[in-house]
């Protein structure tokens, strides 16, 4: 009789153990939909950021998943347009890949943001810099893991105050919302310091020959030039500015200028250019050191800013999943709100008021380091300076 009882207990225990392990295995995987720019104007950045995302996913899966959950991804092409981006994202969200990440252009991010509620999805922006993402278009299900424009511009005035002897400035910006916003913010920062902006030029997006603009910049009385151009326009300008000797005769200060892909594509033309930087491999945090070391081992070179942005975006999602112990978009969003996250920039807070990941920001210069030309950090700005920007977001 007694042996039978023990037998029952053993069987029950075995069953319980089996159920337990079955439960552990049944932990729902993290399903991430990567909306990636694989064609159109943002393909180069899209390719970079996808490499970073893939690296983060592989790293998590090699370490046994995110809080024990395997990470699965689907990748689709947003064709660099909001319409295609929305279509791909909707397909992912409706097939269960409802943790979204990936597009470059802010217009795509904003298009996704409007639909998250309807799709029951969550979206983490990795490279879209528009302030609207955490401003009037903010959303309980949308998070900005990258530096916003406001964060980039917030460090311009303190930097100018400490580091710029120049009294007169010129501005060259692409003629659309981002370029105009950047030019206006820079003008304000300069005027607050009692200095002047001599000339402001807006070049249409898609300009190939910048010679007419460069001639005007050279002829102006400005001692330094603020440049806010994007993509191919920026690369063409960088080469032509060096060709005409503008880079050596006036200090060039860039908004989103000194990035690795620009330096690589222009063969020495960016040497000595200053500007806002969001990342450099030398950032001294344990997480960044480990990340750079692992990246070098795999790719034999340092990661660039787009790759880091992609890497960081996936990590934000995975940390949100771990904190929520759930893959439900609403649960992950609730866990991310106000959370302290481990990033390559050190510990960073996902600000509860507007869902901006608040982290340090940098000013730097393109220099030769060990024979290789690359952007190098000159001044670091603490997250508190960067984050001072108020926002018009109602969550």
């Amino acid at each position: 009789m007694k042996t039978r009882k023990i037998g029952h207990i053993l069987v029950a225990a075995a069953l319980a153990a089996l159920c337990g392990s079955a439960l552990a295995q049944a932990k729902e995987p993290v399903r991430i939909g990567i909306v990636n720019s694989q064609s159109g104007g943002f393909t180069a950045q899209g390719e970079d950021s996808l490499r970073g995302m893939q690296f983060a996913v592989d790293e998590a899966n090699a370490a046994g998943g995110a809080a024990g959950r395997p990470v699965e991804v689907q990748i689709g092409d947003d064709e660099s347009t909001p319409e295609a981006g929305r279509r791909v994202a909707e397909k992912f969200a409706r097939s269960g890949y409802n943790l979204l990440v990936g597009p470059i252009a802010s217009s795509i991010s904003l298009a996704l943001g409007q639909n998250l509620q309807r799709w029951d999805a969550l979206y983490v922006s990795t490279l879209s810099k528009s302030d609207r993402i955490t401003g009037d278009a903010c959303n309980a299900r949308m998070f900005q893991a990258n530096h916003s424009d406001a964060m980039d511009l917030a460090i311009v005035q303190p930097w100018l105050k400490e580091n710029a002897k120049e009294k007169r400035f010129a501005i060259l910006a692409n003629d659309y919302v981002w370029g105009r916003d950047s030019a206006e913010s820079f003008t304000k920062a300069v005027q607050k310091l009692g200095k002047e902006v001599d000339v402001t030029l807006y070049a249409p997006t898609g300009t190939k020959d910048f010679a007419p603009y460069i001639a005007q910049l050279k002829n102006s009385g400005a001692e330094a030039v603020w440049v806010a151009l994007v993509g191919r326009d920026l690369i063409a300008f960088a080469k032509q500015a060096a060709e005409f000797g503008l880079t050596t005769s006036k200090r060039i200060i860039g908004h989103a200028y000194i990035m690795n892909f620009v330096v690589k594509a222009t063969e020495g033309a960016t040497d000595g250019v200053w500007g806002v930087m969001n990342y450099a491999p030398e950032i001294d945090t344990p997480k960044n050191k480990a990340y750079v070391a692992a990246w070098r081992k795999k790719f034999g070179r340092d990661p660039n800013e787009n790759e880091v942005a992609g890497y960081n975006g996936i990590q934000v999602i995975l940390q949100g999943v771990a904190k929520a112990d759930s893959v439900k978009p609403t649960a992950v969003a609730a866990a991310l709100k106000g959370a302290t996250l481990e990033t390559v920039w050190g510990q960073a807070t996902m600000r509860a008021e507007d869902h901006q990941l608040v982290k340090p920001n940098y000013f730097g210069r393109v220099k030769r380091v060990g024979g290789e030309l690359r952007p190098v950090i000159e001044t670091a700005f603490d997250a508190s300076i960067v984050a001072a920007t108020p926002s018009n977001c109602k969550l």
């Binding site: 020959d209 010679a211 191919r232 594509a265």
Partner: protein
């Protein structure tokens, strides 16, 4: 300042002229609006880039022009010749498809990142013009443009083949009846047109960036040139390219808010007042 701006316009105008003259050649003989022309421009730049790593800029230039001439010949032999009895719209769609195919081919070989083609050693640096330094390389572009224009005019006006080409572009059937092998002629002409696109690609390499979509960017400007000048007219394309270069350079200075619009406004105006272009239908 204004002298420098006019010179700037001349540089960009010369570049557009080289691209547009290729388009005009191909249209003249085959009546094909060649959308693939932009991708030939891009292909030229990439081939020059690859070859220049081994043989320098000069080697790159030769390789690109030779390779593009071959591509052009094949395009005519296995494309335009087979499609010559089809609806022009069908042929146009085929060339548009080719544009996408070439872009993808380049993307799969060289990837999506931008590359830089260095200017030849001897043409780097600047000279003082009107009191400010001007890149020597840009002056060389004007020279290349002038050389191309002179060669084309000489070839078309004074050579026997030029006579055939002018004849065939006015009336291919009658020209063929006179004993001219228009198919063989077209092969050669499309090859030259494609080589010109390649040449323009190489020449623009040092001041634009090499990316798979660089072709579609320049294609729009070249079509504006061809429409303003009159499809199929060299003199028209030449004049229109120079006008467009000036409109872009001076527009950027004196009418900055309209700079992006001006080329298209000009094109619209020409289409309204002289639908066949500035030069009418003269070759």
């Amino acid at each position: 300042m204004i002298a420098i701006q006019i010179l700037n316009g001349l540089v960009y105008g010369s570049l557009l002229m080289i691209v547009a003259s290729g388009l005009v050649l191909i249209y003249g003989l085959r009546r094909v609006v060649n959308f693939a022309h932009g991708s030939l421009f891009m292909l030229g730049a990439y081939i020059a880039y690859a070859a220049s790593l081994q043989f320098g800029f000069g080697g790159g230039l030769l390789a690109a022009v030779a390779a593009l001439a071959a591509v052009g010949f094949c395009l005519d032999r296995f494309g335009f010749r087979l499609l010559q009895d089809r609806d022009p719209l069908t042929v146009m769609l085929v060339t548009f498809g080719l544009l996408l195919v070439f872009e993808d081919v380049v993307q799969s070989i060289w990837g999506k990142q931008s590359y830089s083609l260095a200017a030849p050693e001897a043409l780097q640096g600047t000279v003082d013009l009107f009191g400010s330094p001007f890149p020597v390389y840009r002056l060389a572009i004007v020279a290349v443009g002038a050389l191309v224009a002179a060669c084309l005019v000489g070839w078309l006006r004074y050579s026997r083949i030029g006579l055939f080409i002018r004849g065939a572009s006015t009336d291919p059937v009658t020209t063929a009846m006179q004993g001219v092998n228009t198919d063989r002629l077209s092969g050669g002409v499309v090859a030259v047109g494609a080589a010109l696109a390649g040449l323009a690609g190489v020449v623009s390499g040092p001041f634009l960036s090499l990316s798979p979509t660089m072709g579609s960017d320049i294609l729009i400007d070249s079509f504006v040139v061809v429409v303003i000048g009159g499809l199929g007219s060299f003199a028209g394309a030449f004049v229109a390219a120079m006008i467009l270069g000036q409109v872009q350079a001076l527009g950027a200075v004196y009418l900055p808010d309209l700079a992006a619009l001006l080329p298209f406004a000009l094109m619209t105006a020409v289409l309204i007042w002289r639908p066949s272009g500035l030069s009418g239908s003269r070759v």
